[in-house]
Symmetry: C2
């Protein structure tokens, strides 16, 4: 009834998905300090930024500089988001070895987020994935609003599977199902993961990106584990949201996810206490509190 | 892999477990207003108060008056907590048809909460359960700190089963496993529920009381469902905590629990939107925000 994987990998996205909606812009040195703090806690995959036009997301303007100054630790994957071919070019110049590209499964979310229809997005993403894979970069194809859309409500699981099959056919190494609006529940997680798993090649890794908007983030992670998922996005302190999705909460807090996994006997190699301390440092830097729970409890408890 | 019960019952405990740590004391009329609001949302079991000495918990001083003035709706269970024989006498005078009694599975928590050892508590509870059952009252025996103790850490599942068997032997109708300190996780929920289920008669109903201290409340509810539990405590708005357990969060928010259940196709007969509105009214009354999620989202989302 409750057979969980032995170990999982977390990808911390605080420095991209989290920071992109903050007023405070962190310097290259500050971002690198958090990257090193995440590493010191045992995080082995870190999304460092986004190669997006600085006009749209000024918080990510220094992603190139961050990658140029980053001292890479063997065994740690430093990844970034790219949204177009220009961004991909920049990422390749920075010798990024792992990249995420992403489209939304929702027509309305796609239009609002990128001014492109879903059909156009599916054409546009082809070249990005092909070029990224051809450049030798480990490539993740993300499917936003995979579990429902803040504007449209339910999203067809057939559409999600179509996008997943496209990614697979283009050679993407990983497919990320993103609950951008926090509309997933444990049942829908198990159903969609099972359906997508059956739709794509066994070589493709499935991962989950879970926003905690309705308090179901950790429950959804547990359901993902039960469905065999071993790779989850999380965010230091629970930092995050989405500029285009009203009241979207951040990803599940990394320290809370690690605590929950550890208590269930699932290994992550990460020390949640160190993450909790780092989340407090991040709060101080940003000047407001973050939604994660463990960071705010007495450490002995 | 994911076989859930068709329907569950929620017991809202905001007016007891929630209110008891608040500075604001609600009047009899105000408490009755919330009881009726919970009923109007479809809640079919409501913990109305506690027959405790007003010196210890002044917020509960008017529980007798609340029961005396309460207009009882057929099909709705109005319950209360009693802590000693004097309280039981008061409850019986108020014609309460359903009662909770409770001890802690933790020696230290027991000493701090009641100034009694666990052994003394197990003697003391005998007469309470026997008398309550003999008076024709549906009686719930609660086991606090069943999943771990804020002071002691791990709690022996054998001790929990010993208490459960004692309750069973005394004729208790229901056994409530309480995660008072928010230390349970989905794995420990399934393990303990399975073990206690095997230790007691089939006639006994098992229920879960889940504090959300570490953000695992809803995940633990889902695990409870997977283990076959069909009765959960919750609290309007997530109001609550414990005066004797540092930083204990409240129960899972009723509206969040109803939303999660509904999304998974589990019936509750409750309208989470009405609960969410009532949670906002409760926030206004208490003068501070509550931790529940759904109440604070735009209602269309």
């Amino acid at each position: 009834m409750f057979d969980l994987p032995k170990s999982v990998i977390l990808e911390d996205e605080a420095l991209r998905d989290g920071l992109q909606i903050e007023k405070t812009q962190l310097s290259v040195a500050e971002i690198l300090q958090f990257v090193k703090g995440l590493e010191a806690a045992g995080m082995r995959r870190i999304q460092v930024g986004s190669f997006v036009h600085p006009k749209w997301v000024p918080q990510m303007a220094n992603t190139d500089a961050v990658f140029q100054e980053l001292e890479r630790t063997p065994g740690v994957v430093y990844t970034a988001l790219v949204l177009n071919l220009k961004g991909l070019e920049r990422a390749l110049k920075c010798n990024v070895s792992h990249l995420s590209v992403s489209i939304s499964a929702s027509e309305t979310h796609s239009q609002k987020n990128t001014h492109r229809s879903l059909a156009d997005s599916m054409v546009h993403i082809r070249e990005m994935i092909s070029n990224s894979v051809a450049a030798g970069v480990t490539t993740r194809g993300g499917i936003q609003s995979a579990f429902g859309c803040a504007y449209e409500g339910a999203i067809s699981t057939d559409v999600v599977c179509d996008i997943a099959r496209l990614y697979d056919s283009l050679g993407a190494h990983e497919i990320n199902l993103a609950d951008s609006a926090g509309l997933a529940n444990p049942k829908s997680i198990i159903e969609l993961v099972t359906k997508v798993r059956a739709a794509v090649s066994p070589r493709v890794t499935l991962s989950l990106h879970l926003h905690d908007t309705r308090g179901l983030g950790i429950a959804n992670m547990v359901a993902g584990l039960q469905a065999g998922v071993t790779l989850f996005d999380s965010s230091l302190g629970g930092l995050g949201g989405c500029p285009f999705i009203p009241k979207a909460a951040g990803n599940i807090a990394s320290e809370d996810a690690v605590y929950a996994l550890q208590e269930m006997g699932v290994e992550t190699g990460i020390d949640w206490r160190k993450l909790a301390d780092l989340a407090i440092t991040l709060e101080e830097k940003l000047g407001h509190s973050l939604p994660g729970r463990l960071a705010h409890l007495p450490r002995a408890a």
